[in-house]
């Protein structure tokens, strides 16, 4: 049997490897997406003081430490049985919206965006951030850098550090917001709203205005009907910081709605011997393999799935865009809500709608008089001994679960991380792309290279924060090998 390996796959958070096996007819027999990495937080956090977790678990991901910091501190609220003050909750969410703005922005312009803005068949040499800047203009390029800079400034101001923040404590936040800081953050939030609207306009002109791109979005290469997960408030509106976890079925019917603390009743994780990363699925449905449909427990947790799981968005401009999104993509309304969109490339669009929501929510919080309250923390009076904390990370629902002894020393730690939710779905998308592009030993060379990459990249905004000003070459190597390891053919895409 012949084998194609892509190693390492690049521009994603962490390490990855893809193996594609061909059968005797030269068609795809199977594909394996492997994660060859393990650091072991779930074990080495055992024995540590619980209150250290927001700082330790930041280091799971340096791109989205804010998400781990937040899930962790929410788990601590429960482990210590303490309700944060209203001001602390608002400061946390304000901090979190700034993080979402910077993360989503740079994903669109730097990581997933190049494939999309320039199109998958643009010359590879142009399919990077420089190409994007050429297409949307140098001013936009500068705006992206400025947007990252001003929001990281907010993250540092509120969280203590620009990377790996420290301000989260059980019961609140370690540092109050001054009047001057509040005013500065409001100005930044206003700029963010303008920038999000500008970005949606860019998407409109370049992607939606081009029938060829729209066809790609709607093509069956990137179509999977799965369950959709996201966090919603009491009115079933999307929320990044807090709420209930809601899962809708492929038709858009509510399948589950649960408190974070009940996650283990609803989610199970499968282990495969050939990858260090586990495969979560919906427990009630069960694991049926790497297949989609209502009978398979595979679900996704992405910007697209979050819009699918919510009935609406809580801010006015983002809600307008939400309506337009579903109407443009032809979603029907059933029981007063849109049916889910399953075109995975639409995740890029969904991400921009979330960007606008984050910016508008940041504006609301920055204008809230309570945000400068000095009542920022409550000191815990006892140790409840267990706590689950959930937030929406840019890449999906993030769960931290801690159990401790009576001194708040950890005895058990379980983490279900953003991308892990999507592990099975990513594997399926890679397989689908490979099947479409390799037939009878004929490999659509450049198409394969890029479309396989696009299949995982759309799930993975994490390394968004990267390429925007380091426009290096982006070559990619794929070796087609016989079962004995002999290289039959090498494909190479130079930057």
């Amino acid at each position: 049997m012949r084998r194609i390996s892509i190693n390492p796959i690049t521009r994603l958070e962490g390490h990855g490897k893809i193996d594609i096996f061909l059968d005797e007819h030269g068609n795809v027999a199977n594909t394996y997406f492997q994660v060859p990495e393990l650091r072991g937080f779930e074990q080495f956090c055992v024995g540590r003081p619980a209150e250290d977790m927001p700082v330790i678990t930041n280091r799971i991901c340096g791109v989205c430490p804010e998400a781990h910091h937040m899930a962790s501190v929410k788990a601590l609220d429960r482990l210590f049985g303490v309700e944060p003050t209203p001001a602390a909750k608002k400061i946390r969410e304000l901090f979190y919206t700034a993080f979402f703005v910077t993360d989503h922005t740079t994903h669109f312009y730097a990581l997933g965006g190049p494939d999309f803005i320039l199109g998958p068949d643009a010359p590879p040499a142009e399919r990077n951030i420089l190409g994007v800047v050429k297409k949307v203009g140098i001013e936009a390029g500068k705006q992206v850098i400025e947007c990252r800079a001003r929001n990281h400034h907010v993250i540092q101001m509120l969280g203590g550090r620009g990377i790996h923040p420290v301000a989260g404590v059980p019961g609140g936040w370690s540092k109050a917001v001054s009047a001057a800081e509040r005013a500065e953050i409001e100005t930044i939030a206003n700029q963010n709203v303008e920038f999000a609207l500008f970005t949606l306009k860019v998407f409109d002109q370049i992607v939606l205005g081009n029938p060829a791109y729209l066809d790609l979005v709607l093509s069956d290469v990137y179509h999977h009907r799965t369950y959709s997960m996201g966090t919603v408030d009491e009115q079933n509106r999307l929320n990044f910081y807090d709420g209930k976890i809601r899962v809708v079925d492929p038709e858009g019917r509510e399948f589950l709605k649960y408190d974070a603390s009940d996650y283990a009743q609803h989610i199970a994780e499968r282990v495969e011997p050939w990858t260090y990363l586990k495969f979560p699925y919906l427990k009630k449905i069960g694991w049926k393999g790497f297949v989609d449909g209502a009978e398979s427990g595979v679900y996704t947790a992405t910007p697209l799935s979050r819009l699918n799981a919510a009935d609406r968005l809580a801010t006015p401009l983002a809600q307008e865009q939400f309506e337009r999104f579903y109407q443009t993509l032809g979603a029907k309304t059933v029981n007063g809500r849109y049916q889910p969109v399953h075109h995975r490339l639409a995740t890029h669009w969904a991400r921009l709608i979330e960007l606008l929501y984050a910016a508008e929510r940041m504006q609301e919080l920055a204008r809230d008089p309570e945000i400068t309250s000095p009542e920022i923390r409550k000191i815990p009076q006892n140790v409840a001994g267990a706590g689950v904390g959930c937030v929406e990370a840019p890449r999906g629902t993030l769960t931290h679960h801690y159990v401790s002894d009576e001194r708040a020393i950890l005895t058990k730690v379980n983490l279900v991380v953003g991308t892990t939710n999507n592990h099975a779905a990513i594997s399926m998308s890679i397989r689908r792309a490979a099947e479409k592009l390799i037939q009878g030993f004929a490999v659509v060379e450049e198409g394969l290279l890029n479309r396989v990459e696009m299949a995982f990249r759309l799930y993975d905004p994490c390394f968004s924060c990267a390429t925007h000003a380091l426009p290096g070459a982006m070559p990619l190597m794929v070796n087609i090998k016989s079962q004995e390891g002999e290289t039959l053919k090498s494909l190479r895409r130079d930057g």
Partner: protein, 329 residues
Amino acid sequence: MSLRPKLSVYWASSCGGCEIAVVNLHEKLLKLDEHFELVFCPCLMDTKRADVEAMPDGSIAITLFNGAIRTEENEEMALLLRRKSKLLVAFGACSFQGGIPALSNFHSRDDHFRTIYGENVSLDNLTQVVPRPRTEVPEGTLELPVFYAKVRTLAQCVKVDYFMPGCPPEPHQVWNVMEGIMSGQTLPPPGSVIGAGTSSVCDECARTRATKVVPRFYRTFEVAPDPDRCLLEQGIVCMGIATRDGCGAPCPKANMPCTGCYGSPEGVRDQGAKMVAALGSILDMGEYKGTTPEELTQKVEALLASIPDPAGTYYKYGAAGSILGGKAQ
């Protein structure tokens, strides 16, 4: 062919925060790009391992290597990048001293696998499947890099030219170093720590010290500290006194203790040993004349109990490079 010197940024067992520290140079990135050609950096661009293998030895001017050595793959990449690079910099706490992933050295490999794949509450793994280096699937063999028993620092694996501390290194320090190199500044002797000060975080901390002793320690969840006074003197285990300066003391500024990510100050071999000495001198043992040995022991034990995880506290970022051996397998 670019004439710019080649730069590579690689992550081994790490989180990507070091890459973000570089990206957070913001507009200065453009200057960095004018001077260097970035040739390898899996998180930012698509150069593959085979491309690096094809480069002549010594052809990369500088490699900023972040992340600890946890797996077989990490070690292979360390050896490869050492061979290809003129200057190899251990960039960030993980590659310098093991970092957070080295907390793993206090646990055995079997414990890790048992917890992660065997016991966690959300697992569905009745048959106790565990990832292994080689797996036969119907289509062929799949391989995974070996998960080593211990995390090692980069220098425990290959020769390192410079060490840059921090989790991650603060962007202004990254810029100081890169700007110095770009302007042709002479580098310090090989083996030096760069991108940091030589003293302790206390020197950069604005809090006031009164050289007073404390009767006990508090954990951070127990008290809201005074924003102006030294945290250690308020009984909070702030690692600043045993930690190298250069970061600008952002954590105490946010009313939280330093957790020691910059490692030990110049001339101090072991950060934890330094911290123990510092704590010894600030602790008020009270009047011990006339107390029985039992009472004294009780007192000491009560004090120690207020720091429940000394190894994980004093060596949070430095377990692999420390004098501690870690848990035997």
